[in-house]
C-alpha cells in the first residue's frame, strides 16, 4: 500500500468538530506544513490535543479551535504563546487543562483501548476542580481516591518526522520522539509529514529500525515535505527559526495574526512559504540549540 498523500489530501480527510492530536513538543518537531494547510482550509470547531507551541497559537488565532486539551502552550525561548494567550484572555476557547503526564496517560489509555488510567496526579489541584469531566474513583485495593484520567481518543493525529517510507514506516532519528508514538497509537488516523522519503532498504539497518516507534499499521498517510516542521525544529536536521518566531510573536502586537497569515500563508503554496522564509537550504542550516 502506497500511503503517500499531499497536505491538501490530508486536510480533505479531516472534518469539522474532530479531535486532532498534534505531535512534537512546544517549538520542536511540529507538523507545521500540515497546520498551515489547515489554516488555509475552512475546517472549524476542532478539539486540539497538544504539548502546544505555535501550532496551537496559529490554530487559535485562525479561529479553528473549539476546545484545547493542554498542559502548556509555549514557544520555549519565548515563554508565552501570544495567540494562545489572546484566545484564553478573550474567553474564546474551551479548555481541558491537565498535567503533562496526565496527557501522556490519556493518550496511552486511548492507545490501549481502556477508558482511563488511574493516577494521583491532579489531586489537590484545580486540574480536578476545573475539569468536572475528569472523575475521581475509589480503588478496590486501597482506601484512597484516585484520578481516573480518561482516554484521549483522537480522530486524527498529525506528526512530523525526519524519515518515512511510502508504506508508512516512520523513523524519528533525533534524540527525542516526545510522545509521538502515543499520538500515533491513540488516533483513528495518523498522518505524518517527513523531511526525507526513504526506500524500504533504509530500515534494514537495525540502527534505523530502532528509530521506528510504531508499526506502519498505525500510519494512514505520509506527506513528503522537506522542511515541513519550520519554524519549529526537526533534530538532527534543523533547529527552530528564532528570528521568524520572534516576528510571529511580535505580530500579535502589530498587525495581528491577519498580517502574518496574509504575508506567509494565505493563497501560498508550501514552496512559496519556504521562499519567503529563506528557502529550504536556509531552513536546513538553522542550528540546533544547546542548553
Amino acid at each position: 500500500m502506497n500511503k503517500q498523500m499531499t497536505a491538501a489530501e490530508v486536510v480533505a480527510e479531516l472534518k469539522d468538530g474532530m479531535t486532532i492530536g498534534i505531535g512534537g513538543w512546544g517549538p520542536r518537531r511540529k507538523p507545521m506544513a500540515l497546520i498551515r494547510e489547515i489554516l488555509r482550509s475552512d475546517l472549524k470547531d476542532l478539539t486540539i490535543v497538544s504539548y502546544g507551541g505555535a501550532d496551537v497559537g496559529m490554530l487559535c488565532a485562525a479561529g479553528k479551535v473549539k476546545k484545547l486539551v493542554f498542559a502548556f502552550v509555549s514557544l520555549d525561548f519565548i515563554p508565552l504563546e501570544p495567540y494562545f494567550r489572546k484566545a484564553r484572555q478573550s474567553g474564546s476557547i474551551d479548555v481541558m487543562e491537565i498535567d503533562e503526564g496526565m496527557l501522556l496517560l490519556g493518550l496511552r489509555a486511548a492507545a490501549w483501548g481502556v477508558p482511563f488510567i488511574p493516577t494521583e496526579v491532579g489531586l489537590g489541584t484545580d486540574i480536578i476542580n476545573k475539569n468536572p469531566d475528569i472523575k475521581l474513583i475509589d480503588s478496590p485495593y486501597d482506601d484512597k481516591e484516585w484520578v481516573a484520567m480518561p482516554a484521549l481518543k483522537l480522530d486524527a493525529a498529525l506528526l512530523h518526522a525526519d524519515t518515512a517510507n511510502e508504506r508508512g514506516v516512520v523513523g524519528i532519528s533525533g534524540p527525542d520522539h516526545y510522545m509521538d508514538d502515543w499520538y500515533a497509537r491513540a488516533a483513528e488516523k495518523t498522518y505524518v509529514s517527513c523531511d526525507e522519503l526513504v526506500d524500504a532498504d533504509y530500515f534494514n539497518d537495525p540502527d534505523h529500525a530502532r528509530t521506528v516507534l510504531w508499526e506502519r499499521s498505525a500510519t494512514s498517510g505520509v506527506v513528503h515535505i522537506p522542511g515541513g516542521a519550520h519554524p519549529t525544529s526537526c533534530a538532527p536536521l534543523y533547529g527552530f527559526d528564532i528570528p521568524h518566531t520572534k516576528e510571529y510573536n511580535a505580530s500579535a502586537k502589530e498587525g495581528g495574526f491577519t498580517a502574518y497569515f496574509e504575508k506567509y500563508i494565505e493563497g501560498k503554496t508550501e514552496h512559496e512559504y519556504q521562499q519567503l522564509v529563506g528557502g529550504i537550504d536556509a531552513i536546513n542550516a538553522l542550528p540546533i540549540p544547546a542548553y
Partner: protein, 267 residues
C-alpha cells in the same frame, strides 16, 4: 497463481488453507506460532495480502518474511521496525493483529486451553505452558487455530478444563459486551477447515480436505458441528503457492508437522 498442483502434502494443503485466514485482514501483524501457521502467514504476505506485517519471532518487524531455520551467512534480514516483546502488547491492544495458534483444547464456544488438564486447578493432572497471551489475544483481535490432529481430545465435549481465551459462550459474556466482540476466524485441522459462522456462532464446517468425509469430522469432534448439505473440498495448493512454500521453508520443516507427512489428497 492459478495452476492447481496435483502432488502436495497434507501440511502444504493446510498451509494454503490457513493462509486464507489472513486474506481479508488488511494491514495487521500476522503472528503464526509453529511451522504451519508461520509459513501460512508468510505465504499470505507474499501473495494476496502484501500489507501484512510479520516479525522475526524476536525483536524486529520485517518488510519481507524470513525463511524458516538457519539462513545463509549473506542473508540480509529485511527489518522494518524494532518490535521488542514489550511493544507487542501495544499492537495486541490496538486490535491490529491476527494470531494463529495451536491450543491443546478447543470447545464448542471457541474457548481454548493452553494451561492445565484434569485434576483440580490447584493440582492439575497435566500442567502445560500456562495462559500465555491467549486471554489478551482473544479479547483484543482476530484469532485462528491450527490443529494438527483433529480428535475429540482437542475438540472436547464440554468446556475446556481451563479457559485461557474468551469465546462465544453467553454464560461468560462480560458486562457491557457482545458476543460479536469476539472474533475467531478459521480452525484449520488435518481433516477440514471450520469457522464460527453457524447459527449463534456455532462451529461450522467450511470445507473438507480431499478424501475426508463428513463422518470423520463428526466422529472426531466432541460437539455438534453445523454442516451444510453440500460441503466444498479444500482447494489444492497452486504450483505457485508450493514454490513460495518451498522458498520459505527450504529445510522442509513442514514435512515433520503431521504424523508420517501424508499426501494432501487422501481419496
Amino acid at each position: 497463481m492459478t495452476t492447481p498442483a496435483t502432488e502436495y502434502s497434507l501440511a502444504e494443503l493446510m498451509i494454503c488453507a490457513a493462509a486464507e485466514a489472513f486474506r481479508p485482514d488488511g494491514e495487521v501483524l500476522a503472528t503464526g506460532i509453529g511451522v504451519i501457521p508461520r509459513i501460512a502467514a508468510s505465504l499470505a504476505m507474499k501473495t494476496f495480502n502484501t500489507d501484512l506485517m510479520m516479525t522475526d519471532s524476536e525483536a524486529w518487524i520485517l518488510s519481507e518474511p524470513n525463511p524458516l531455520g538457519k539462513r545463509p551467512d549473506d542473508f540480509v534480514q529485511r527489518n522494518e521496525s524494532w518490535m521488542g516483546f514489550s511493544r507487542i502488547f501495544d499492537n495486541v491492544w490496538s486490535g491490529k493483529r491476527h494470531a494463529m495458534l495451536g491450543p491443546v483444547q478447543i470447545d464448542r464456544y471457541g474457548q481454548t486451553n493452553t494451561s492445565a488438564l484434569g485434576g483440580t486447578y490447584e493440582q492439575p493432572k497435566t500442567q502445560m505452558l500456562g495462559a500465555r497471551g491467549f486471554p489478551g489475544n482473544s479479547i483484543s483481535h482476530q484469532n485462528s487455530f491450527l490443529v494438527p490432529s483433529h480428535n475429540s481430545r482437542v475438540f472436547v465435549e464440554g468446556e475446556c478444563d481451563f479457559v485461557s481465551s474468551i469465546g462465544y459462550n453467553p454464560e461468560r459474556l462480560p458486562k457491557g459486551r457482545s458476543l460479536d466482540d469476539v472474533d475467531i476466524r478459521l480452525i484449520v485441522t488435518d481433516l477440514c477447515v471450520m469457522d464460527f459462522a453457524g447459527p449463534d456462532h456455532q462451529v461450522r464446517l467450511v470445507s473438507l480436505h480431499p478424501g475426508i468425509t463428513v463422518e470423520q469430522v463428526i466422529d472426531n469432534t466432541g460437539f455438534p458441528v453445523d454442516i451444510s448439505a453440500d460441503v466444498p473440498t479444500t482447494p489444492a495448493p497452486t504450483e505457485e503457492q508450493l514454490a513460495i512454500i518451498a522458498e520459505m521453508d527450504p529445510q522442509n520443516q513442514r514435512s515433520f508437522q503431521i504424523k508420517d507427512n501424508p499426501a494432501g489428497n487422501r481419496a
